[in-house]
Symmetry: C2
Subunit: 208 residues, 2 copies
């Protein structure tokens, strides 16, 4: 447990084609704890960023003007396929993440972290339907196919989409205690999978 | 099962202080099925609408200019407390919902539907921490305290926050078949609660 009093600033990296629940599942959890977490949405420019599902969220700062942050959160989504080819973006992400206490991804976001060199020497997981894609972007990463999420020091990566909610609750527990995370899950009527090794989707996608 | 080929237009009613996951949990599910569902976010005016948790989503049309829609979705959130006192809004919501095939709410959104007279003569549920608040706005409603969600003809209401995801999958199953909904849940690595009567949160909040 790192702190009971600190407010953590979370910077969420939006990009065209981000996956809605990858962003808003974790942000529901962090966002209910208004005293403990402060949320900042970052995008290519200030303004709307369209998700893979259609609806747009509002970026409050551009990548170029993103302030230092405690927790970087990179979602997945079809837009990651373009992001991993964008050297300027990857350089910015690496530099910005170097200042953070935690670098966190949901779903194929770990492929982006890997492409930026942020997972070299770390254990990590990813979406089970795009696992080989993520793996291809991180030869220096120890990929874990069967995991709801993987915590390795300051890098936390979750499996596909909904898994980000379970990881977010685990991060709340890590920072503020298990009771706090349990109360939060109950409050939003969410049945938290507390076990990071629970992962029926690995087998369903031929990864075990 | 209503149809295998139709595209359903979903109109989501945004308002200041909407709960993030009430909106984006269901929209993840509907939004992945791009051929089957078309999403439109409606707000007080075109432009950003701030959630209860901070982040803003972009309304693409104003209430006044909302086109006819197949499925109306009303989320909950702290902003509902003001909405139920806004007679102009409630009149608009009633008239707009009259044109829809399904009127659906998540969490305290059922309090808003009730205040608009849209649940009179229906069975319905709501958030378990604000159940009495919802009940107070619908004396003509048969409130069901213990339910993950309640389907009653064309009115579907879910319990708190995360329950909306389970209801959305049930609605997908209703419209496009159980296999489709199961494949969707697996794709987003979500463990679907298929049983509408599963509700540990009723007891935790003294409602049983």
């Amino acid at each position: 447990m790192t702190s009971l009093n600190k407010t953590y600033r979370i910077g969420v990296v939006l990009f065209p084609g981000f996956e809605l629940l990858d962003v808003f599942g974790p942000l529901e959890m962090f966002g209910v704890l208004r005293e403990e977490f402060e949320i900042l949405l970052i995008g290519p420019a200030v303004g709307p960023v369209a998700s893979a599902q259609g609806p747009s969220a509002l970026a409050e700062a551009s990548y170029a003007e993103a302030p230092p942050i405690d927790i970087v959160l990179v979602p997945g989504g079809i837009g990651t396929r373009q992001l991993v080819t964008d050297e300027n973006f990857l350089r910015w992400l690496h530099a910005w993440s170097d200042l953070a206490s935690f670098v966190v991804s949901v779903c194929t976001g770990s492929g982006v972290l890997a492409a930026a060199g942020l997972l070299d020497g770390y254990r990590a997981t990813s979406n089970k339907r795009a696992f080989e894609w993520a793996r291809a972007h991180g030869p220096g990463v120890t990929w874990v196919p069967e995991a709801r999420w993987v915590e390795d020091r300051d890098r936390w990566t979750s499996s596909g989409v909904a898994a980000g909610i379970d990881m977010a609750l685990a991060l709340v527990a890590h920072l503020f205690g298990d009771d706090r995370a349990t109360a939060l899950a109950d409050r939003v009527e969410y049945e938290w999978h507390r076990d990071a090794t629970w992962d029926p989707y690995a087998a369903k996608n031929g990864l075990t």
